[in-house]
Subunit: 171 residues, 2 copies
DNA sequence: TAGACGTAGA
DNA sequence: TCTACGTCTA
């Protein structure tokens, strides 16, 4: 269920608070938080431009985030990341600035909000997807891995004024 | 939900008739017809011996069945079959007589019943999983593909006396 | 048709 | 940890 008006799609989802937890990706889809079954980057076409709507950080790629209000999110594609289906049997390839990667770049250009869902490992003996709130893509870079493969890195910053994930999670 | 007694596990499932249709694999699991999410061969350990319980023919491997009461079912493993996840990017390898393949062989030796579910393509504009009834594994062979890869073929025959799938499906 | 930061069982 | 005859979107 998607609309062409960014104002009705981007940003928070009605009824979902920061810290809300979900066990399955399909639940994120059902409530409209992240409308992709497996893909980490959801996006839609708004008046001819693809903008990112939400991303899920499941730690399948190497997203070395520093502080809690910064997030480094890897682009998708290229069979990058050690936990991919097919594992290390698939040869890594250059990632391309297309699909979700391009949408994230467009979101950077337009400074639009992106919802972030993080997979929290070992919460209450289980892994959970947790809504972390809204971020903005401030920068991106083409990195080269040790094998010489191009991988995109998107640098997101959490929009200030939101309650911290820690406080909402109540560990 | 599995028991150690083959008589309570093998054979028909209470309430499920030949020709019953299901859209999703998970439905087969919920009613106990085939308790695997993705794997085509379900089996369990009965007094130390793994026996096949049910198989799903989704046509991902090349199962060239002849008549309607015969079924040639390919073993699993080895990244065989053109419709595999990862597609043709994964190198095919020899299949091994283990897991589901071994269970099917054991079922052959013991002449135990195996439930068969077939994916029917284009039924009522949709693909459906249809319960086809009970078969027995009569033979198996190690085949070599054109690339020299070992693939198992299990030759199953439908147990006589069951209503035909055609008659129960009411095309 | 191919790709995707899934998911459960062995 | 790895596999597996899935399943949806683009």
């Amino acid at each position: 269920l998607k609309w062409k008006d960014p104002e009705k799609v981007l940003g928070h989802v009605c009824g979902v608070q920061i810290g809300d937890k979900f066990k399955y990706r399909v639940q994120l889809k059902m409530i409209g938080l992240h409308c992709q079954d497996q893909c980490g980057i959801d996006y839609a076409n708004f008046n001819g431009l693809n903008l990112a709507i939400s991303i899920v950080d499941s730690h399948r790629y190497s997203n070395d985030s520093g502080s809690s209000d910064k997030l480094v999110y890897s682009g998708h594609g290229g069979h990058v990341g050690p936990k991919f289906n097919g594992g290390d049997k698939l040869k890594p390839e250059d990632q391309k600035l297309e699909k979700g990667n391009l949408a994230l770049k467009n979101s950077m250009d337009r400074k639009t909000q992106v919802r972030v869902i993080k997979k929290v490992v070992g919460y209450d003996k289980d892994d959970m997807f947790v809504y972390d709130g809204l971020y903005v893509v401030d920068d991106y870079a083409e990195k080269k891995t040790a094998e010489g493969i191009i991988v995109f890195k998107f640098y997101l910053n959490r929009i200030p004024g939101q309650p911290s994930l820690q406080s909402m999670l109540k560990w």
